[in-house]
Homo-oligomer: 347 residues x 3
């Protein structure tokens, strides 16, 4: 997209959200404008991260991309944690994981599959991602199984231990994929960072876009509570389907565009990679951040959330493991997403 046009849209959406926040009382209007602004700001933030990553060189850049690719998601969740909306935080983590694996991957595979009879990619990477997802599932299921009868203090300790283990495992995965076994996963070079701007401008852009995402996220978190109360929607549904879709919109469109150009491997990498990042990095980081904020959040997810993550993971593994996709596999992913959406709506 033309840069001037892009920044015009970003600026306009930001102004509109600011106007709604400061000068109107309609919570629905505030929510709608903040959501819209977040979507464009997240795209700007993503672009800035990639540009800075480009100048940082291959390894550090890859690390930046991999770690802050979900920065908007992380910032929104930070404000939810600060407000003590732990149920919504966990629901939004759940929603981001299943949204990436079922909705984004499902649409990518389906739409790509309408154009290409079969699309193939590096099945080995899919196998590795499957093992990482198993770690994430283990880390989320074990506390839920064991903690039912534990006193709160021990739940806190166990949550912290698990969070640290997950972050360490995630950092080791970055070392594995970027240092020791770089070539191993080599045909997925799709996530190349591009320099949109000069070095100095890139850093400035990163700072400014992060700042605005943070500001508007706080607005969004305030208005979403009113909106969900008025509509009678549960924290679970709002977190898992509304917040999660808004926070990930930029990545969603990127994956879809790649899939329709025949680059399904890149789309799989974005969708599954993003899910992994959220489960192994964003979720444990939020647990540790909540400690610093003096409002400790545990890592115990509800049975509904675990069932959703479990189901989504197993069908995604089943579909990606052969390194080939077709339109019907997209239908399967989307069918599970719709079933889960309906169930969360009623729950």
């Amino acid at each position: 997209m033309n840069q001037r046009l892009f920044f015009t849209i970003v600026g306009a959406s930001l102004l509109l959200a600011g106007y709604a926040h400061y000068f109107t009382d309609n919570e629905f209007f505030k929510f709608a404008t903040a959501s819209l602004a977040i979507i464009f700001l997240a795209a700007w933030l993503g672009k800035s991260t990639e540009s800075v990553a480009h100048y940082a060189g291959d390894r550090v850049g890859g690390f930046l991309n991999a770690t802050f690719g979900n920065a908007a998601e992380l910032i929104i969740a930070f404000f939810l944690v600060k407000e003590g909306l732990f149920d919504m935080v966990k629901a939004s983590i759940t929603g981001a994981i299943i949204g990436n694996m079922l909705l984004v991957l499902g649409l990518s595979v389906f739409l790509g599959g309408l154009k290409y009879k079969e699309q193939t990619f590096n099945g080995r990477l899919a196998g590795h991602n499957a093992s990482l997802m198993m770690l994430a599932i283990a880390a989320l299921f074990i506390p839920a199984v064991f903690m039912k009868e534990l006193p709160p203090v021990e739940i806190g300790t166990l949550s912290t231990v698990i969070a640290v283990i997950l972050i360490v495992a995630y950092l080791l995965w970055l070392i594995f994929s970027m240092v020791t076994h770089r070539d191993f996963l080599s045909d997925i070079e799709s996530h190349d960072s591009e320099a949109a701007w000069s070095k100095g401008v890139s850093i400035l852009m990163l700072a400014i876009s992060t700042f605005f995402v943070a500001v508007v996220s706080e607005w969004l978190v305030h208005s979403v509570q009113h909106v969900s109360e008025t509509l009678g929607w549960s924290e679970l549904f709002v977190g898992a389907f509304v917040i999660a879709i808004i926070g990930n919109a930029a990545e969603h469109s990127a994956a879809l565009l790649l899939a329709m150009k025949g680059r399904i491997g890149a789309a799989v990498e974005i969708a599954v990679g993003s899910s992994l990042q959220i489960a192994l990095f964003v979720a444990p980081t939020l647990v540790l951040v909540s400690l610093l904020l003096g409002r400790p959040m545990d890592i115990v997810f509800t049975t509904f959330e675990l069932a959703a993550i479990g189901v989504a993971t197993f069908i995604t593994i089943s579909i990606t493991k052969d390194g080939a996709t077709n339109w019907f596999e997209g239908v399967l992913l989307l069918a599970v997403y719709i079933i889960l959406g309906t169930a969360f709506f009623f729950a």
Copy 2:
């Protein structure tokens, strides 16, 4: 089998069942004769469906075969729904799924494996079937997890939504496998429909056999209640092991014969395909039919049933995914079937 002999047996079993139903009072005798008649009538119905399918041309024919391959099962379940025996309906769905995956496939793999050291088939189809089974499992698990605390009205709505999604997914699967990706799964041409009779006779045969299956199913449903009460067997055990085996007997023998001729791929297709058909088409159809009958049945299965379906699916996927079988893999499937049978008997 010689046609004259076949129809003599069908007719004799039908007469015997009719005699028992109208002129005797012994419920065990009624049950035994109705069961025997259903087994032969189901074989006749299957033969008629294949013959009609032959004249309908490749695509429509394949569709007919795939959709009405479990017609006898569907008709028996229809009368169970009509009687409000929902627990037995769900148990018979469970039993048909695990019976096909564990008993039929297990015996086929075991007996075929005694003759051939290793039998191979299209592993790609196995992968696709695995993904479809994951959808079925997701569709059955999600309501069970989410519905525990829901009011009945919402359970009804959610059941209907899920039923519609499953049927749509099943129809899209038929389009995928018969229209857009026909060649994709091509080495499984085993399920060719053959014309047993001329076009007109085939249609007549289909109508008559369906009529008789319906009549005898109603007799069976009546007597099975008395028999299970007298023996002290639970609806769960009767549905999952007695009804399910009777309703699927015709397919069972077909799969076994193919496996022993070295055509294990065809046997796998019948066994796994039949399970998929029941989970993705028969079960949701019964939910929708129950609405029309004014006696709405939900799609919530018991923990026992879900555990059985889950365990059966995972071990079947594990065994079929490499596209090769040997006798010991048959032993594994049969061992799980016996364990489940024992557990259902005591439950």
Copy 3:
């Protein structure tokens, strides 16, 4: 290791444990010395079994190795059953299964992976082992799901039936892998039994080492109860992490040494094979033995134990199924082990 040195160490550790048992009152000292002695005695017992197996010829020898490879584990568990410490028995079975799959395999894959960029092995065997693990999981999950509401008598009957089925399946697996499909799994010739001594000496060694393992196991079982009470550790934690590690130490070191020599296939076989042996042979044998002892133990594991076994199995299958390993996959296994260890400690 030099034989003289080996027996000097074995003898010294045995004398020390005996001294502690008969002449001191410090339970911690008794526990520490008995544990140390068991570790060396188990190594001696393993060596004797292999040596006898060598003279028994390929088939019977393989059978001996496969069946009594976990003899020390079995003997310790026997004394736990005799004392009625059923919770600790089941915890130690759980611990041996997850310890082999996560700790032993994890360390082997990790340390081997630091030296070799990628290590490969027979993926086909991994697939077969996966199917066997699914049977074990099915056999352990089904009773836990079904037995919650059953009366004790029926739990006993069902446990016995399942135990018999598992042992039969295990014996058939030995026939499969050693008689009918010997060549099938052929590149794993690593487990060759070697003759350490002459035939007569081997048998004598086997008898003596078994005797001493039994004696010291009884000491260990007594002291472990005092130690765990004093430290406030649960039977669950002691069984799953203390007893299990002591009982399997000899195998652990063997697997590690093989992995560091680049023979990861042999290490996988020891680790996964040992888990299978415990799930399919040791556990059901203990159930049957408990009947003979007149203190029937059922086969119902706790939710914690089943969750641990389930998680360990799925991640192990995910990592071994491609027949290749690297250091990061070792990290994944170890991360899950540490998470489980922490959870069991708090539980």
